[in-house]
Every structure is written in structure tokens, then in C-alpha cells.
């Protein structure tokens, strides 16, 4: 009657104590791992500062919900559920793996607290965890290796396919699961043969199956298997640990800090340099990101953390229309550069100008800053701030396409991108029919409670001026005491900031803040989500800012505004979420509530709506940029609306209106489908 010999007491060839090997493997493994991590931290040490220690409650919440809770995973159902299984299995098995390492030199070791009932319960779950992880790995490997979902494909210009690495890692994980289960099963089978002792095992778990298979195996085989699978597991475990920081599986480690430090506020753009006040910006030697080390440490951590899941690019409208931008590769290319410039041994290389070396100018200008990528990333990787930082660097180097130079110069000289005269900014109010009935207060002369911030496109674009007039009529009807800044108003600079022309933005912002403060208003209303966002999130110290849809929703709820029954009840309406109202500011329900308050209005939802809304093509300076693309974002959006069975697309943003109106023409859907601004719909239905 003998019991099986554990690795701590086992002697190879009867002489050499295996315990020594059990000690050497972890020492080398942990030591090498520590060395790799130290090298991987080197670029972060040289990076730009970042401010990520604020708002601990929101950060803790993200850690629990986004990281541990994997809340964003099921947005892609199959991949998400597989990941949740593997992730949960990893968490459960991490305890077992830790004790297994110690078992190598201390027979029968159990972690403190895992001796009695807790240990038995743990073992029960652990056995299933290993089983589920193995199944998940097999499904995942089949999916990646055989079915190959399109979003994992690597276009030729971005290098080689990543499938091999993915499948290899799934193989390592499977090896860990199988070896751990065999290690345990061989011990139990041995004990059963020797003593007849029946050990309770989770039915149909991997261990249970292996034990059943091994119950008749020779004792010598079981002894050998026991020690062999231990070292397979031990070796695979430390190999895996050191392999993680070599590629996309680094996220297994970095996802915890990355989610902890992820963006907690939305809508705003990061300052040029953390810790440098706006009035000291002139003293900075250089602006934005030009070289690798100009990224902040969090942005570098982002690069390390990318799991290559492709969800960002799958949601990216620029990628969808064939612009030369795929957010996934913004990250992958930077990560590859970090690995190349900071090798595991030897000299550290200096980076070239990023926008020439790994990125192209068009790639960086192609982003509409819609935020779909960030909304989707399960790891909290950011893109908008990086795009803006790269653009800041390009602007500082003078690398601005001619098509953008003209509007930027006009903004500098005239405060609007069209180069129209300042004194004509309020000409929309001079429309004959409108003027006969309505007078708009100029806050330079009159006083009012509320400022209606019009912004450039609504002030100057012949077609869009209608939004200004309708907004004014709605506000007047709702008894809001409001006025405009007239020629004192400058472009809000929302896109100037996002296109990287920081100092011009600062200039516009200062002029607007001064005019707003002088006007003495207590509230601000705008019908332009880009203005709404920038005033709310990038300006500081202004009175409360509301979008017109919020005001209308509130006034309808309180009964201050009454809406007539639907004027075109046979039409089918769909609401398109503007990025800067929805995703960046979470205003999803107010516009919908107002539409639904119109009696008899039939409304359908787009499949891509709310935080998955699809950008219409971008606002502000994006209208001037001439991207390389196969189709227009707006055209894709109009087709989505048509598929949803709608014939009226209601939006709440002047840029969406321009883009969608245009896209309807390009898509050849005139007469079938029309675009309508929220204010127009509401004004038509004012009782």
C-alpha cells in the first residue's frame, strides 16, 4: 500500500530530487518575467505625463464592471461569452495555479483557508472552470482558425495575419487545463486503485473524465503521468507568463491597470500637456505627439493592452467607407514600434516622426472623432485624444492639407471657417418672413436669461440657417427669455480643437467666454451638438449648457410646450443619434421622448443606434477635408435607415443634416427618404 509520490518528493532516476526542478522553474520564470516587464516599462518611464488618479470611485467602478464584470464583452455575443468563460476560468484557476507551484516543493500544500469545506467547494468549481476554459478554447480556436471572422483579417498594408499567435496561445491555455486535470486525475486514480477510496469529483468535468479513463491504468504509468503532467503544467505556466508581454496577450496583465486608468469623463479633449496651464502653452517647445515618447504613459499602456479583437475597426465609420484609417492598427503599429524601439535586450532606438514612419497624414485626418471605437473597446483603449495629439503635432510641423488651411485661416481672421464677415453672423434673423414675426435679442445690447449659441454653420449656411430660425421660434413659444451674441459670437472651435489647432481654439474660446460672461446669461442653449459638447466639456466656468432637444423634452413634459398630432402620419420616422449628443454626452432619450410625444408619429429604431450610432461623416472642419474613400459614411447611414423601413431621418445636428441630405442625393434616394432636423419637426408640430 503506497500512495502516489508528489513532485516535491519524487526523485528522477531514483536519485535526482524533482523539488530542485520545481524551485528552478519558478525562479527562472519569475525572474525572466520581471526582467521583461522592466524592459516593457522603459518607454512608459520616458513618456509624457498623464493625469489618471482622479475620480477613484468611477475608476473602481470601471475595474469592477468593465474589467471584472466584462460588461462590454457580450456586445459581440459569441466572442464575448467565450471570453467571459476563459476570463472567469483564469480568475478561478489562478488560485489553483499558485498552490500548484508550491506543491512542487511542498507535498500536499494548500493555500491558507482552502483546507476544509471551502477547499472542496473551490475544487468543485475549479474543475468545471478548467473544463469550460478548455471547451471555450477549442471553440475559439475553431472559430479563429477555420471560420475566420472578417474583423480579425489583417489587410496586406498592415502586415501579416495574427491567427497563428492567437491559436498558439489557445493551445498553451488548453495544455494548462489538460495537464492540470491529468495531474489531479492520475493522483485520484492511483489512490482509488490502492485504497478503493472514492473521491468526489464534479461530474463530467475534465478531471472526472480523465479519472474514469485512468481508473484501470497501471500504477507506474499513473505515477509517471502525475509527475510528467506536473512539469508540463509548471513549464507551460511560466512559459505563458513570459510569453504574455510579447504580443496581444499582454492584455492579460495590462488590462487591470488599463481599465483602472481609462477615461472616466467623456466628450472632452485632453490638454496639450498635463500639468501645463493654458496660459503657459506658449512656453512649450513642441506641441502634440510627433515621436513615440510624446504619447502619455496611459496611451502607451493602451498600445500594450490591445487584444487585437478588432471591434474598434469593426465599428469605425472611417474604416467602413474605406478611408485609410483602422483604429486597431493605430494601436498595433504603435505597439510594434514600441517592441522594436525598446527591444528586450540591447540598445533603445529613437523613433522617427510617427506621421511619416508608421502613420500617414491622411490616416490621422480621416478620423471624425465619433468615438465609436472607444465606446466598443472592452479594455478602455482611447483613440480620440491620440488622434488629436497626433494632429497637434502635425499642425505644429505645418503638415496641414491645403483644403484645411483655408478654413483654418478664415477662422483665425473672421471667426468662422467660411471667411464670411462677422457682421453677417446674425443675418439668418433678417429673413423677411421670419423678421416680420420674430425679433431676436442681441445680447450686446439687450439682456436675457438664456443665450442661444448658434455657431458657424447654422449662422452662415443658407440651408442650415433654417435651424436657427426654428430653434428661435421654439424657444419663444416655450417662453424662454433668450438672445444671441450676434457678431460677438465666434466659432465654438469644437472642431478646431479636434483638428489639433490648439492655439486657435484657445483664442476662439477666450473670445466666446468673454462675450458670454459679459452678456450675464444664466443658461446656454444650442441646437448644434458639437457646440453643445465643446461648451459643456472643453470650455470651463460657463453657465449650464443644454441642447435644444433637452429643453424641448423638459418643456413638453411640464406641459409648457404642446405638440400637435403628427402632420404626416403615414410616414415612418427614424431618429439618428448625432455622435456629440449621444455617445459623447449620453443624450439618447430626450429627442426620442419628444418624437414619441407627437401623437400618431410612427418611429422605428436603427439597428445601429444610441451608443452604437454610425457617424454621418463628421462635422466642422471635416466638411472641408477631402478624404480618400470608397463611399460616404452618410450613404451607408441612409441605406441603414432605408433597411429599417424609414422614410424620414430625424437628426438633431446641423452637420448630420448636411451630410445626410447630401447622402440621400448621392444614394439616389431622393423622393424615397428625406432628412429633417429635430427643430424643424418640432416647430412644424407646435400647437
Amino acid at each position: 500500500m503506497t500512495s502516489i509520490i508528489g513532485p516535491a518528493s519524487f526523485k528522477f532516476f531514483g536519485i535526482f530530487p524533482a523539488a530542485i526542478l520545481s524551485l528552478i522553474i519558478p525562479i527562472i520564470g519569475v525572474g525572466y518575467f520581471a526582467y521583461i516587464i522592466a524592459r516593457r516599462l522603459a518607454p512608459l518611464v520616458r513618456s509624457a505625463p498623464d493625469s489618471r488618479f482622479d475620480n477613484p470611485i468611477a475608476r473602481a467602478r470601471n475595474l469592477i464592471v468593465v474589467c471584472l464584470g466584462q460588461i462590454r464583452q457580450p456586445r459581440y455575443m459569441l466572442a464575448g461569452v467565450l471570453h467571459i468563460f476563459i476570463f472567469a476560468g483564469f480568475l478561478i484557476l489562478s488560485i489553483r495555479s499558485t498552490s500548484l507551484v508550491v506543491i512542487g516543493f511542498s507535498d500536499g500544500f494548500v493555500l491558507p483557508g482552502f483546507g476544509g469545506a471551502i477547499g472542496s467547494i473551490y475544487n468543485f468549481f475549479k474543475d468545471y472552470a478548467a473544463t469550460f476554459v478548455l471547451i471555450a478554447c477549442i471553440v475559439a480556436a475553431v472559430r479563429r482558425g477555420i471560420f475566420k471572422p472578417a474583423r480579425y483579417a489583417v489587410p496586406e498594408k498592415y502586415g501579416k495575419d495574427h491567427t497563428a499567435e492567437a491559436v498558439f496561445v489557445l493551445g498553451i491555455i488548453s495544455t494548462l487545463m489538460i495537464s492540470e486535470s491529468l495531474f489531479e486525475a492520475s493522483e485520484i486514480a492511483y489512490a482509488y486503485q490502492q485504497t478503493g477510496e472514492v473521491h468526489f469529483l464534479a461530474p463530467l468535468s475534465l478531471v472526472w473524465i480523465f479519472k474514469s479513463m485512468l481508473s484501470g491504468a497501471p500504477l507506474g504509468f499513473l505515477q509517471g503521468l502525475h509527475v510528467f503532467t506536473y512539469y508540463i503544467h509548471d513549464f507551460a505556466f511560466f512559459f505563458f507568463l513570459c510569453f504574455l508581454p510579447m504580443g496581444k496577450h499582454f492584455h492579460v496583465i495590462t488590462s487591470f491597470p488599463n481599465v483602472l486608468f481609462m477615461r472616466v469623463k467623456t466628450g472632452n479633449i485632453k490638454p496639450v500637456a498635463h500639468g501645463v496651464a493654458e496660459d503657459q502653452l506658449d512656453d512649450l517647445e513642441s506641441f502634440g505627439v510627433k515621436y513615440l515618447e510624446d504619447f502619455t504613459w496611459k496611451h502607451m499602456l493602451d498600445f500594450y493592452s490591445c487584444a487585437d479583437c478588432g471591434r474598434c475597426s469593426d465599428q469605425c465609420p472611417a474604416n467602413a467607407v474605406g478611408r485609410p484609417l483602422s483604429p486597431r492598427f493605430i494601436t498595433i503599429k504603435a505597439r510594434d514600434l514600441m517592441f522594436k524601439n525598446y527591444p528586450l535586450s540591447g540598445e533603445i532606438y529613437k523613433s522617427n516622426l510617427l506621421v511619416e514612419d508608421i502613420y500617414s497624414e491622411d490616416e490621422i485626418w480621416s478620423c471624425t472623432t465619433c468615438g465609436a471605437c472607444e465606446q466598443e473597446c472592452p479594455l478602455g483603449i482611447e483613440y480620440i485624444d491620440k488622434m488629436v495629439d497626433l494632429r497637434r503635432g502635425m499642425v505644429d510641423e505645418g503638415m496641414v492639407p491645403q483644403s484645411l488651411q483655408k478654413p483654418l485661416k478664415a477662422l483665425e481672421k473672421r471667426g468662422n471657417p467660411y471667411g464670411k464677415m462677422e457682421k453677417k453672423r446674425a443675418d439668418w434673423a433678417k429673413d423677411k418672413e421670419f423678421k416680420a414675426e420674430y425679433t431676436i435679442k442681441d445680447l450686446a445690447k439687450d439682456e436675457a436669461d438664456t443665450l442661444y449659441f448658434v455657431d458657424s454653420i447654422t449662422s452662415y449656411d443658407d440651408n442650415i440657417q433654417e435651424i436657427a430660425r426654428r430653434t428661435s421660434i421654439i424657444l419663444q413659444k416655450a417662453d424662454v427669455d433668450f438672445g444671441i451674441l450676434g457678431k460677438q459670437e465666434k466659432d465654438s472651435g469644437a472642431e478646431v480643437l479636434r483638428f489639433g489647432e490648439e492655439m486657435l481654439f484657445q483664442d476662439l474660446k477666450e473670445q466666446n467666454i468673454e462675450a458670454i460672461e459679459e452678456s450675464g446669461v444664466k443658461n446656454i442653449v444650442t441646437a448644434d451638438p458639437h457646440a453643445y459638447n465643446v461648451l459643456k466639456n472643453d470650455y470651463k466656468g460657463l453657465p449650464e449648457v443644454k441642447h435644444i432637444s433637452q429643453v424641448v423634452a423638459q418643456k413638453v413634459a411640464s406641459g409648457a410646450l404642446e405638440l400637435k398630432p403628427c402632420q404626416a402620419p403615414d410616414k415612418v420616422y427614424v431618429y439618428h443619434d448625432p455622435c456629440y449628443l449621444g455617445r459623447h454626452n449620453s443624450v439618447y432619450e430626450d429627442p426620442r421622448k419628444v418624437l414619441d410625444a407627437i401623437d400618431g408619429l410612427t418611429r422605428v429604431e436603427l439597428e445601429k443606434s444610441r451608443d452604437r450610432s454610425f457617424c454621418c461623416g463628421g462635422g466642422g472642419l471635416m466638411l472641408f477635408y477631402e478624404p480618400e474613400e470608397e463611399t460616404r459614411m452618410g450613404v451607408l447611414r441612409v441605406n441603414m435607415a432605408a433597411e429599417a423601413g424609414a422614410n424620414v431621418i430625424v437628426t438633431a445636428c446641423p452637420f448630420c443634416l448636411v451630410n445626410i441630405q447630401d447622402a440621400i442625393k448621392v444614394a439616389g434616394k431622393e423622393g424615397e427618404i428625406e432628412a429633417l432636423d429635430f427643430t424643424e419637426l418640432v416647430e412644424q408640430h407646435l400647437a
Binding site: S403, D462, K665
Partner: protein, 322 residues
């Protein structure tokens, strides 16, 4: 009595249209002035032009020199300084040769200089009153030059009514030997011809020509549809080529192609003179522009104040329905 000399630009043995326009300009300067054509060049081509000019001008000066075979402005200027009397009024076209040669000529002659003249009001004493444009044609100006020591004027092509060639029976004076030393520090090498595109806009009777009003590259399709319906070809103004939306060979204007269609549809084209300089043969011009103040309406036969992006598709549809 004012002496006026007119420099005749020519190509392949044929004088450019401006040759027919100088007499009207000279007439407006001083009806009693003498007008002499100057033709520089070499060989048979030169003789052909000189002969052609005798039907328009009563006096034609011919300067024949191998160095003048190609009109290198540096060489032409050097020759002219030796030929033109100091107090004369010298006219040349405001074209790429005139712009290259004339300013320096006025310095060498120490005379007054006025460029790109679109109209002339006449002489008062020694003051010549003229009209030109500034700011890309947005405004016109009256200018006055003191011509007591002569003047060099560049005349905008197409600004003065052309005279019919008749039987002036002009005399030819060969002043080749007076041209003097023609060595210069700039050597003409070659002409690099503009790339010929897939269509030859100069061969089309109807052109749908687009300008800034097209706003976006994608909208070019709208113009193409109209052109197709009309059996026309799409041409454009310079900004469209600068934006690389259409190839250079489709550009109408002084820096592009010269076209002679029967009908010219100017869609969203403001109508700078550089553009109109490329529209010859007095076509029927239809201008559509949303800016009622666009200069194109001054030269068009028919004007329509509309946004071309709305107007063109409707016109296309109506034509297709015919």
C-alpha cells in the same frame, strides 16, 4: 502726335487674336495716333504673320533673328528697347509672354507702365486714363499714367472689339539689323506639353463647365449626368484642377485649354478673366450661380441665380424627358 506700337504675339505662323484688338485700343488712346505693328520671329512663320498684319496695320515692323524664333521674353525685350522710340506708347497682350517681357521693358525705356488694361478713356494732356481691375476682378479702378516719356501697356485679351482684316495694304519695314546684341542669360529649353487626358474638350460643341460651386468631388457626377443628357463634355475652371477632382486637360482658361464651343454652360463658375480667356469663338454662354453678383453674369448670354447642385439634376431630368 502719339506714336503707338503694338507687339504681335503669334504661334505657328498665325497671329493671336489680340492683333485684331490693338487697333480699337489705339483708337481709344488717341484717334489721331499712328499705329505700327511689331512682329518678331524668324523665317517663314514670321513672314506669314507679317503679311497677315499688313491687312490690318498700315505699318508693320519685322524683326527677323534666329534668336527670336521662340519668343524668349528676355530676348524680345532686348530687341524692342532698340526699336521703339523713347516717347512711344507700346502695347502688348497681358498674356504669359507680355507679363514676362513688358514690366522690364518699361524700366529699360524709363516709361510709365500700366498692366492688364480692360478699357481706355483717352488722353488729357500727357495723362492717359485707363480702366483695369483689382482683387481678382471684384472691383474696377480708374488709373492714370503720365505718358510724357512714353508708356508700356499690357492689354487684356478680349477687352477691345476686334477689327476685321481688310486691305490696309501696310508697308513692311525690316528692322532686323537694329535689334542689336541679343545675348541673354536665360535660355529657352523646350515646351513640356500638358498631359492629354481621355477627352479633348477643345473638340466639343457643348461644354458643361464646372467651378467652385460644385463644392465636392462626389458632385462632379451630377455635372457628368447633365453633360451626358446634353451630349456634351465636362470641362472646369482652375480650382477644380487644383483640387485634383478633374485632370488638367479639362481645364478651360489662360492656364488651361482654349475652347471654341457653340454653347458653354458655366456651372458654379464665378467668371474670372483668366477663365474666360480660354473661352473663344463667342459661344452662347449660360451661367448658373447662386451668387447674383458673380462676374460671370456680365459676360453670359443667359443667367440663372440658383444652386447648381439643385439646378443641374432638374435640368438633366427635363432634358431626358424631351
Amino acid at each position: 502726335m502719339t506714336q503707338i506700337f503694338a507687339y504681335i504675339p503669334h504661334q505657328n505662323g498665325v497671329a493671336e487674336d489680340i492683333a485684331m484688338e490693338y487697333p480699337a485700343a489705339a483708337q481709344k488712346i488717341d484717334a489721331s495716333a499712328s499705329l505700327t505693328a511689331i512682329v518678331t520671329g524668324s523665317g517663314a512663320d514670321l513672314d506669314a504673320v507679317v503679311n497677315e498684319m499688313t491687312s490690318i496695320y498700315s505699318e508693320v515692323i519685322k524683326i527677323d533673328n534666329a534668336d527670336l524664333a521662340y519668343p524668349n521674353a528676355e530676348v524680345v525685350r532686348k530687341a524692342l528697347v532698340n526699336i521703339i522710340p523713347g516717347d512711344a506708347v507700346f502695347l502688348t497682350a497681358h498674356n504669359t509672354l507680355g507679363m514676362d517681357m513688358a514690366p522690364g521693358l518699361s524700366v529699360k525705356m524709363d516709361s510709365a507702365y500700366a498692366a492688364d488694361i480692360v478699357d481706355i478713356e483717352g488722353i488729357e494732356g500727357s495723362t492717359l486714363k485707363m480702366i483695369r481691375q483689382e482683387l481678382g476682378g471684384a472691383v474696377s479702378t480708374h488709373v492714370e499714367s503720365d505718358i510724357s516719356n512714353g508708356a508700356v501697356l499690357t492689354i487684356r485679351p478680349g477687352s477691345f472689339a476686334p477689327v476685321e482684316g481688310g486691305s490696309a495694304g501696310g508697308s513692311i519695314t525690316d528692322k532686323s539689323s537694329d535689334a542689336g546684341d541679343l545675348s541673354v542669360k536665360r535660355k529657352f529649353l523646350e515646351i513640356v506639353e500638358a498631359e492629354v487626358g481621355d477627352v479633348d474638350i477643345t473638340k466639343s460643341d457643348v461644354l458643361v463647365s464646372i467651378g467652385r460651386g460644385i463644392e465636392d468631388e462626389e458632385n462632379i457626377e451630377i455635372a457628368q449626368e447633365l453633360a451626358e443628357a446634353m451630349g456634351a463634355v465636362v470641362s472646369c475652371s482652375r480650382p477644380i484642377v487644383d483640387a485634383k477632382w478633374l485632370e488638367k486637360s479639362r481645364q478651360v482658361g489662360t492656364s488651361g485649354q482654349t475652347v471654341k464651343p457653340k454653347v458653354y454652360m458655366a456651372m458654379g463658375i464665378s467668371g474670372s478673366f483668366q477663365h474666360l480667356g480660354g473661352v473663344k469663338g463667342n459661344p452662347f454662354i449660360v451661367a448658373v450661380n447662386k451668387n447674383p453678383k458673380a462676374p460671370i453674369f456680365q459676360v453670359a448670354d443667359v443667367g440663372i441665380v440658383e444652386d447648381i447642385l439643385d439646378f443641374m439634376p432638374e435640368l438633366t431630368e427635363s432634358i431626358q424627358d424631351l
